[in-house]
């Protein structure tokens, strides 16, 4: 099995859930600018409508134009009949990523890997329980298809028997563990949803906190959240400018055979250069690497 070569590098700032049994929302979702559209067959579909949603999603992926967004599907838990049928049905259409809910063991993900055979589909396991979070690095490293792991704070809180708060102190440790597990395994970390769709400032603050601990993208449950999430994950013009100067100074230093390289009176070592390169990569992927549209 080989996943698409760009699947790991792909930018996934905003990943928008769209209910899989709602044709109106499926048809309009491409206009909101999410990097990834997640057609959902799990929580947003009533048990009696799983078969109808599965067929709707298969035909939508086959026939609709999603305007360049990455197409993902959140299947039902793969150890259920619905989950197995979802994966089987989706093998016949061009879905780039499957989100695997409630992953708690590496074997759980390996089972999906085997079911997919030679298809190039990538996987994003969702860590939504204490067991899943604690085995995050094993799950992230379970097979070559895994391009990211995602944190699901709502189900995690339920499993822990704790109340969610807007400040999120109760899930902070788990969030950090998910980000660390992802980084340790060279995959992206995707943050949990922010459930108050009317609180744009709260969403922005929550996204900044996710960025501060190492997340590279965020799940979203409402199209209105996409713009804010994309903005927060896109480097500012000042950050891009600084990153360019760091990389240029480093390359110049290498050419001149300098042992120690400095910029604006501060030493530039390899971690600084690597962070600058990541900023430039994000900027390029977000389409603001000098072609205009940078954040102020």
């Amino acid at each position: 099995m080989m996943i698409a070569t760009n699947a790991k590098e792909r930018i996934r700032r905003s990943m928008l859930f769209v209910p899989g049994n709602n044709p109106s929302m499926i048809q309009t979702c491409p206009i909101y600018g999410a990097d990834t559209i997640i057609l959902d067959l799990e929580d947003s579909v009533a048990p009696s409508q799983k078969d109808a949603a599965r067929r709707l999603v298969v035909h939508a992926v086959r026939e609709l134009d999603f305007a360049g967004a990455e197409i993902a599907v959140r299947v039902n838990p793969p150890d259920t009949e619905d989950g197995k049928r979802d994966i089987e049905a989706l093998k016949h259409v061009d879905v780039q990523v499957l989100l695997i809910p409630k992953a708690e063991t590496p074997e759980y993900v390996v089972g999906v890997d085997r079911q997919l055979g030679d298809l190039p589909t990538a996987l994003i396991p969702m860590l939504e329980t204490p067991a899943g979070v604690l085995r995050g690095s094993e799950i992230a490293a379970s097979c070559g298809r895994v391009v990211a792991i995602a944190f699901g704070a709502e189900d995690y809180a339920t499993s822990m028997g704790i109340q969610r708060t807007k400040a999120g102190r109760e899930v902070f440790t788990a969030r950090c563990l998910v980000a660390m597990a992802a980084r340790a395994c060279g995959v992206a970390a995707i943050d949990t949803v922010f459930v108050d769709v009317n609180d744009e400032e709260g969403l922005a603050a929550d996204t900044r906190e996710a960025i501060s601990v190492g997340f590279e993208g965020k799940l979203s449950i409402n199209p209105r959240q996409v713009e804010t999430i994309n903005r927060e994950f896109t480097p500012t013009a000042a950050q891009i400018d600084r990153a360019r100067r760091v990389v240029e100074a480093y390359e110049d230093g290498i050419r001149r055979g300098l042992g120690a390289i400095a910029l604006d009176g501060k030493m530039i070592d390899m971690p600084v250069v690597q962070r600058a390169q990541t900023v430039l990569k994000m900027a390029k992927a977000a389409g603001c690497d000098g072609a205009g549209g940078e954040r102020e």
Binding site: N22, P23, S24, Q27, K50, D51, A52, R55, L56, V58, H59, A60, R62, E63, L64, R85
Partner: protein, 96 residues
């Protein structure tokens, strides 16, 4: 595919279509009976019928009564709803 009971799929929400597939009387001879109600009947009635017939043909359904209540569904949605309703109208318990 043999239709043995009523199967319904879809909703009356905008952009969706409600499809009911039912068995016909065995004495009447095998045929497809289509009844289409659509908010865009004048412009797209024929196209809706074509998509419904094509989907039923792919499923091997040759004898059924099919009622369509369309709320402006695109072709992919019509196909998906006809498929779901037809499968729900068969005796097989396999793929639901």
């Amino acid at each position: 595919m043999k239709i043995v009971r009523n199967g319904q799929a879809g909703t009356l929400e905008s952009g969706d279509v409600m499809v009911i597939v039912s068995p016909r009387s065995p004495e009447a001879g095998a045929q497809l009976e289509l009844e289409v109600h659509s908010i865009v009947e004048a412009q797209y009635g024929e196209e809706i019928r074509r998509v419904v017939r094509e989907t039923l043909s792919e499923l091997g359904v040759v004898d059924a009564r099919v009622t369509i209540q369309d709320r402006g569904a695109l072709d992919y949605c019509i196909r998906a709803r006809v498929e779901a309703a037809a499968h729900r109208a068969t005796a097989a318990d396999g793929e639901k």
